[in-house]
């Protein structure tokens, strides 16, 4: 293609000086290493202090809700991976659960246990990634390398299960596609035995680190009212004094059978959020230990089913499809035409690593959802920057964005 003169104006709009109040407008992003994706922030500055912040999102907008309206339910599953791509199984799960509730499916117990394992591994992966990147933004390179090392073990386990490292699609509507591989439990146990020491290592590096404390303590304080009003959920809300964890309060899967506690803090600053994340990793590890026992019990009780039995909505097991004519017909219809859930509406919230991940589905009885709205926690965790940043200084922006743990696949959808 020949060179054509373009009409883009030079980027002097980055900086404007106003003689009256000496306010400087600084354009932060959309390509900024510590913006964790495509976040553009317009910061109005007085000296180094921010007086007004205006987050601009949408650089990763792919129109997933529109896509969902134009494909069958099972087809949409891989697209959900691309929301919170740091912990994609939790997105798969939220969608699968919403459809299951709409249809009214009972998921077999072994599938539930495997789902919980995947969800908690995803939570650990997401939290480790959060710790690594936030520490790197603040300047702690060692923690970044350590945390990525541990995350790698988890990625290997997941890769062994579903073949993918980031975009898992490991959960299906009605259950899970596969049983866990033979080495899964041994690998997971191996990791869990090492993991407490790893967390301790991170804490030794960060907890009393002077630089870390200066960047984290009393920075980015979110009051309880503000967190509730802005729709904050997950660690953001728990660090602001509300011990609300959907796994505990509205238990799904088998979360009512496992023992874990909900860490929270009433400080609301960056450091509180950091502590909540660290404690949550310990709790996740605790849950994972218990799921291993639960899995072994399903082996003893010989509960081998992995997908719900509902011929109208879910394909039969592979063996049936290959041996029984009627199952093959059902399977063919479900793959080509898709399931048709009943007419109705459902909103299901699950606790993703970032917060409340909700799926609202309006079904008109067709093979495509009539309207699908994804409630992504990061959307509001980005919005809160409007109110949170004013009063802070430029370096605080980086640490605050870090601890809000926003992922732009989820914000823009």
């Amino acid at each position: 293609m020949a060179q054509i003169k373009n009409r883009l104006t030079p980027f002097f709009e980055n900086i404007t000086f106003d003689r009256d109040d000496n306010e400087l407008v600084l354009n932060f992003g959309p390509q900024h290493p510590s913006a964790h994706g495509q976040l553009r922030l317009m910061l109005h500055l007085q000296q180094e202090q921010i007086v007004k912040a205006h987050p601009d999102v949408g650089y990763l907008h792919r129109g997933m809700e529109k896509m969902a309206e134009n494909m069958i339910y099972n087809e949409f599953m891989p697209t959900t991976d691309r929301m919170d791509y740091i912990a994609s199984s939790s997105n798969n799960y939220g969608f699968a659960l919403a459809v299951e509730k709409l249809v009214g499916l009972e998921v077999p117990r072994r599938a539930q246990v495997i789902r919980m394992m995947l969800l908690e591994i995803n939570r650990l992966m997401s939290h480790l990634f959060w710790l690594a990147t936030t520490a790197l933004d603040v300047g702690a390179m060692t923690v970044f390398l350590y945390a990525f090392r541990e995350r790698e073990y988890l990625m290997d386990i997941i890769e062994g299960y579903c073949g993918a490292r980031l975009t898992h699609s490991a959960i299906r509507i009605g259950g899970v596609p596969l049983d866990i591989q033979d080495t899964f439990i041994a690998q997971l146990k191996d990791f869990l035995d090492k993991f407490p020491q790893a967390i301790k290592d991170y804490e030794d590096l960060l907890d009393k680190n002077r630089i870390w404390l200066m960047r984290m303590e009393e920075v980015g304080v979110i009051s309880t009212e503000m967190a509730l009003s802005w729709g904050c959920t997950g660690p953001m809300l728990r660090a602001s004094g509300v011990a609300w964890d959907i796994r505990k309060e509205e238990p799904y899967e088998l979360y009512d059978e496992v023992e874990f506690s909900v860490p929270f803090s009433d400080k609301g600053d960056n450091y509180a959020r950091y502590r909540v994340y660290m404690q949550e990793m310990r709790e996740s590890a605790k849950i994972l230990y218990q799921t291993i026992d639960m899995y072994k019990k399903t082996q003893i009780n010989n509960q081998t089913e992995l997908m719900a039995h509902a011929p109208k909505y879910i394909s039969a097991p592979k063996l049936d499809i290959m041996t029984q004519n009627y199952s093959l017909m059902q399977h063919f219809v479900l793959v080509t035409q898709g399931m048709r859930p009943p007419v109705g509406e459902v909103y299901i919230a699950t606790e993703s690593p970032k917060g409340e991940l909700g799926y609202f589905i309006n079904s008109q009885g067709g093979a495509y959802p009539y309207r699908l709205k994804m409630r992504a926690p990061s959307f509001w965790h980005t919005g809160i920057l409007t109110d949170l940043l004013p009063g802070h200084y430029i370096p605080d922006v980086v640490s605050i964005i870090g601890t809000t743990n926003i992922v732009f696949g989820e914000v823009d959808r």
């Binding site: 529109k66 134009n70 069958i72 709409l102 009943p342 109705g344 509406e345 909700g358 919005g383």
Partner: protein, 268 residues
């Protein structure tokens, strides 16, 4: 005669349809079946018109008049302990009912209950902003405006949020074409180079299987490479240059160019 196709909904339609299919319904339960919800509903009913109320999948849905939305949400927040607005958005019913359903998804943490407040507005009508009650509505209402074109009265910054500010059309409407309209197709070209450059640049290639054998910039001329800037004649000699180390790499077999077969057909 061809079947009539409505223009209000241009979304993809399933190929297989069963005209005698009667879709089942997700069961709706009476609000009286739940103690907490029935009390809440009584409080709402004492002050506002409730058009319809039922429980579906463990959550209560309440239909109200669109003018009452601010006051109902205020009542829910201040008196009934629904402290969080988890989500709000719209559903497009333009084709069937000429309007939208707006829903507000509320959460009460103390009661562990979720309520969905819904209202129906006519196409073209605006809603009252609830941004003063819940800051989270600030961004949700902008998103609703961005995606459906429904404005919120009293919102401090009613601008698009996900799409560019100068975008035309509202993507989540059922009338919005799936491939985008002409404006969408030429958005970048028009903005960066101007409309007159459309012909020179050409439409975006959306077929992922397309291979342009004579595009030297994109490395598609495998075996017939041409330096950048040199005019392509189309009868360059085949380049037999070897890109692999002598002796090959562990596990990787050496590619024998002469005996390899290049598949030209993009459809395979």
């Amino acid at each position: 005669m061809r079947a009539y196709k409505g223009k209000g909904d241009v979304q993809a339609k399933p190929y297989y349809t069963d005209r005698y299919w009667v879709a089942p319904r997700v069961p709706k339960f009476d609000v009286e079946s739940d103690e907490v919800f029935s009390k809440d509903l009584e409080v709402i009913k004492s002050k506002f018109d409730v058009l319809e109320a039922f429980i579906q999948v463990e959550q209560m849905t309440v239909f109200i008049n669109p003018d009452d939305n601010y006051k109902v949400l205020q009542l829910l927040k201040d008196e009934l302990d629904y402290t969080q607005l988890s989500e709000m958005s719209a559903i497009d019913f333009i084709e069937t009912r000429d309007g939208f359903e707006i829903f507000y998804q509320m959460l009460s943490m103390n009661k562990r209950k979720r309520i969905r407040i819904k209202m129906f507005i006519k196409n073209g009508a605006a809603i009252n902003s609830v941004e003063k009650l819940f800051r989270s509505a600030d961004w949700s209402e902008r998103e609703v405006f961005d995606m459906f074109g429904i404005e919120a009265n009293g919102h401090p910054f009613m601008k698009r949020i996900l799409m560019p500010y100068d975008w035309q059309g509202y993507p989540l409407l059922k009338t919005y074409p799936l491939q985008g309209d002409e404006f969408a197709a030429w958005y970048e070209v028009d903005k960066i180079y101007g409309k007159e450059a459309r012909e020179e640049i050409g439409p975006e290639i959306r077929d992922t299987a397309t291979v342009d054998r004579y595009d030297s910039d994109r490395f598609a001329r495998l075996g017939y490479e041409v330096p950048i800037g040199v005019k392509i004649t189309g009868n360059e000699p085949k380049n037999t240059q070897n890109y692999q180390e002598e002796g090959g790499v562990f596990l990787i077999r050496k590619l024998d160019k002469d005996s390899s077969k290049v598949i030209d057909d993009p459809q395979r």
